[in-house]
């Protein structure tokens, strides 16, 4: 335990910081803004490719996939440097962080070359098809059916909440391939190009604005997907769902810490609630650093997610109330402008509060996180 940083990590950090200083697009270059989580404007593709070529995109990957085999503490330093500048390494975060990562973990060499590398190089973009109208928290209850017919799967069903699907080139889609098996054992993962016949995407607005298109419904009607697009073994998709998100989930808390830090700056005051914000920010960082240790219970990531997302929600609500009638104003810019950031985090107090529910609902609701903590850490019966 010590306050000072590890010199080896600091060397790594300094090297990345120098890269960022030399290569960051200027405010004039960084237009237009990205409109969804798979809308990557030309300047942002160029930016992502630069990071890829220099091994700074996903430093934990091997060099041929945009990394440098970095350790977890180095990944934190990398994420912190990006966060400090309020910039993203990719404007297709699920594509890089989840889909390419899944293909690298579970795909064949050919699949890595054909799909993961282009996603990482921003040649193509990807979206994640997990949730369905009837399968949210109970993801394993998904019903989109894929039947193997010769050398193709034939897919029928529907996904929803598919972020960025309307702008994505390919969907990593969780499908049921064995309807007779227990629900966790009949799931497989297919890569489905969005221009395949029978794929229909319908983006819909968020609470923030009717034209804030990120979520999609995606309908599949007799969609024929080549057999070689199966990622991982047949009927073992549940392992892919659980196994590929490791580092991504371990560092997820950093995005909440970033929001809290923004609020510390944007809502500074001497009101009582502000002390909670200061304490939550400090505690979240401490727990996040501790989670880098080798022997942590993976269920403790649920503590970080629950605590971080609820701390943000609590603080944005208090900031909204603290600004009184002024909080009615919309649109309003309540934060400093960072040209590489998404617009959403400099928006009105109401929008910042409303968007905090993304943290407490997406990726496992707070209620599910509490169940995980109670069952897998405290050992209470299921």
């Amino acid at each position: 335990m010590r306050l000072a940083a590890d010199p080896e990590i600091e060397e790594f950090r300094a090297e990345f910081a120098a890269f960022l200083d030399a290569n960051l697009p200027t405010a004039e270059e960084a237009v237009p803004r990205a409109k969804s989580s798979a809308d990557v404007p030309p300047w942002a593709r160029e930016w992502q490719r630069k990071l890829f070529d220099a091994g700074w995109l996903v430093p934990g990957n091997p060099p041929e996939y945009g990394g440098r085999n970095a350790s977890l503490p180095q990944l934190l330093a990398h994420a912190e440097e990006l966060s400090r500048r309020r910039i993203y390494h990719s404007f297709n975060p699920q594509g890089v962080g989840i889909i390419a990562a899944s293909i690298l973990s579970f795909g064949t060499e050919e699949q890595k070359q054909r799909w993961a590398a282009p996603i990482l190089r921003a040649d193509i973009t990807a979206a994640l098809g997990m949730s369905e109208p009837g399968a949210g928290s109970d993801l394993a209850g998904l019903r989109t059916r894929a039947a193997l017919e010769g050398d193709h799967f034939v897919v029928n069903g529907q996904k929803v909440w598919t972020s960025g699907a309307h702008d994505a080139d390919v969907l990593l889609t969780f499908v049921r391939t064995d309807p007779t098996a227990p629900k966790h054992k009949g799931i497989s993962v297919l890569l489905i190009p969005t221009d395949t016949e029978g794929v229909v995407r319908r983006p819909f607005g968020s609470i923030a604005h009717p034209d804030d298109f990120d979520f999609n419904e995606v309908f599949f009607t007799d969609v024929r997907v080549p057999k070689e697009n199966l990622i991982g073994p047949l009927n073992e998709g549940w392992k892919v769902a659980n196994g590929s998100l490791g580092h991504e989930r371990t560092l997820l808390w950093l995005s909440y810490a970033e929001r809290l830090e923004d609020l510390i700056r944007d809502a500074a005051c001497d009101e009582e609630w502000y002390a909670t914000l200061l304490m939550d920010f400090q505690a979240l960082k401490l727990l996040g650093y501790r989670q880098l240790g080798a022997d942590r219970n993976p269920a403790e990531v649920s503590v970080l997610k629950l605590f971080g997302s609820e701390a943000v929600q609590n603080a944005t609500l208090r900031a909204l109330e603290a600004h009184g009638t002024e909080s009615l104003l919309h649109p309003a810019s309540t934060a400093a402008h960072f040209h590489m950031n998404m617009e959403v985090f400099s928006s009105s107090w109401f929008e910042r509060y409303a968007r905090s529910f993304g943290g407490t609902i997406a990726g496992g609701t707070s209620e599910i996180q509490r169940n995980i903590i109670a069952e897998r850490i405290l050992g209470l019966p299921r």
Binding site: D270, A283, L286, L287, F307, E367, E375, L378, L380
Partner: protein
Amino acid sequence: MEFEFDEDQRMLQRLVRETVAKSRALPEEQLWSTYLELGWLEAPPVELAIILEELGYAADPTPFLATATWFAPLAGRLPNGSGTAVFDGVGEFVLDADRADEIALLTADGVVVREGAEVRAERVAVFDPTIHVARVEQSELVAGVPELALMGLAISTVGSCRRILDLVVAHVKQRQQFGVAIGSFQAVKHKAADMYVAIERARALALYSALTIAEDAPERARAAAMAKAAAGECQRLCFQSGFQLFGAMGYTWENELQIHLKRAKAGDLLLGTAAVHRKALLV
């Protein structure tokens, strides 16, 4: 920053846990001499925090906390025997002043150390019968609470909260209603999970405070205020939900839970509640 225990610290934690578990039934004097033999009073801040968390967990009856975190930082040395200190400027609610061998007084002229027998100290009745709290009669006192004392109470209180949660978890796993363990109900699980998160938060901030004291970092005063405030908030939730989840069993004198509920509540009330220290963060 590295926020993990090193191998020596883990070993110390294991040793303290074993020692505390083994010596639960020993009389106070024997506990005290065990702690002295093991050199626990000499532990530096982070190691001291590790020890105090477990002593809080065990509702330790000895004057260890006051000796290590009240007397020592004020006097700059360990006492002959046990010690405590008066640093609140008035001499009210001084931990162990009625039984300390030496008392350090923070006065307008600086720190004065006196034999315990020379200082007029009267034990006051408090709701937690396992702690000693006394009123000290002395003039010229000034206020200046050491960070170590705030950290010490904070991490001890975290220990009490951990004990409350452990008792609650054991209870709800075993207690059957409607034909199942009540711990299988989400209403119960979610309260327990929230207690766990509050403990993790308070524990992290208390250890951070210990670390800033150990390294004499500029943020040590704020870190101590955060630690004491978070421990107070944590006990509030753990008292409330812990008592509630125990049902009527927790309402009895016989049940062990009451000891730890009171210890946790006292930990918040001594040296300023959460609200007091939250205010300190806003200036």
